[in-house]
Amino acid sequence: MMNGEDTDLIAAEYVLGTLPADERAAAALRALKDKSLAEAIDAWSRRLGPLAEAIPPREAPATVWPEIKARIDALEEVLQTPEQTKAKIIGIERRLRQWRGAAIAASALAASLMLFVGYREVVHPPEKTLVAVLQKDAQSPAFLVSVDLETRVLTIRAVAAEPQRGKSYELWLVNDELRTPRSLGIVGDKPFTVVHPQLAGYSPQVIEQATLAVSLEPEGGSPTGAPTGPVLFAGKLIQATK
């Protein structure tokens, strides 16, 4: 485990912005689970935050606001669905919002994604099903994951992630207890991928508490067994059942 001083320096450099991309992504991911790191980041944001006061405003391009409005409209469209459906979506959304760490904040769009690609299994799931929306930010949900804890079958569907030439998407199980991210395999470009043998070795508790992350790796997967490329998408598993 990292000691307090390391954690504080990681937090300080995270806030200052000088961590290299991979360390930055790892820190953001770790902060979701590691309260001491999350608090250290908050503290450094408060320490350095006053510097931003000094930055002079510049007029933002006029094209930006209409684009933002259009994106908000798209986000909110999902809430125009019938009441019963809406209540369920909001229930999911509320649970999503409870995830700590705004970096992987949930959104109405994440809920709408469930509506489109897997709504029935989310609302009427078999017992012990976990789901996760893996996203870069709330606007770009890329993968939908469901995990059956009984059978340890994991289903992942690429929704918006585009295949990248000469690169592979690799799925990782991240849990502090495991110390390092564990590969669950390469995510194929077919809409469905099932990876089960890799999950069988982990206890339900470890899986339930895990964050799933997808990094971009050289074709065929990480050569080192640890993520080498940027973590592009991540999400927390949540109970699909009540």
Partner: protein, 183 residues
């Protein structure tokens, strides 16, 4: 345009949390210049900076629910979202290529310190005093990282020191700042 106070902005954000679009438009109007100023210093390429600014406001829309006025001022909270998103973007990109240059905005990359002519709050004045305690070069490194989003590698090139030295200096400078601010 009448400039909203921090309390006004906090009220507006509370309305944004309830999905009030009028309030959101008012927040944009009051803060977009500031956030754009933050983003373009780190991302001088206009097209990328525009995308990032869009993302920042969509995040503000979504996260207004989690804004806590007891923890941060509204503008500090929004500035943090903007800076984090801009830094994510600038770190994600491979080093800026030559063809990026023509589209760049005229942000002075060599000007590390907007501090010189800033009106300062008590917090900023205190931080400035602590920054004054650092050697000039190390202070400039911290400020270039903060204001222009320079990476350790870029700082190493600019100051002609090994990356490891820059990292050590950053750590020492940050530890010193923390100590100074804590007193």
């Amino acid at each position: 345009m009448l400039k909203p106070t921090a309390a006004d902005l906090a009220n507006l954000l509370a309305r944004v949390a309830a999905r009030d679009r009028e309030a959101f438009a008012a927040v944009y109007k009051a803060t977009s210049g500031k956030l754009w100023g933050i983003v373009v210093r780190i991302l001088p390429r206009k097209d990328i900076a525009e995308d990032v600014l869009q993302d920042v406001y969509v995040r503000i829309w979504e996260r207004a629910v989690s804004f806590d006025p007891a923890k941060a001022s509204p503008i500090t909270w929004m500035a943090t979202i903007a800076r984090n998103r801009a830094i994510d973007e600038v770190r994600r990109k491979s080093p800026v290529s030559i063809e990026d240059a023509p589209e760049s905005l005229d942000v002075e990359p060599g000007d590390p310190s907007p501090l010189d002519n800033a009106q300062t709050s008590e917090d900023l004045r205190r931080l400035q005093e602590c920054l004054q305690g650092l050697d000039a070069e190390r202070r400039e490194i911290v400020l270039l990282a903060y204001y222009n989003g320079l990476s350790r590698d870029e700082l190493a090139k600019r100051f002609s020191h090994p990356v490891a030295t820059i990292k050590t200096w950053l750590h020492r400078s940050l530890a010193q700042l923390r100590k100074c601010l804590g007193s």
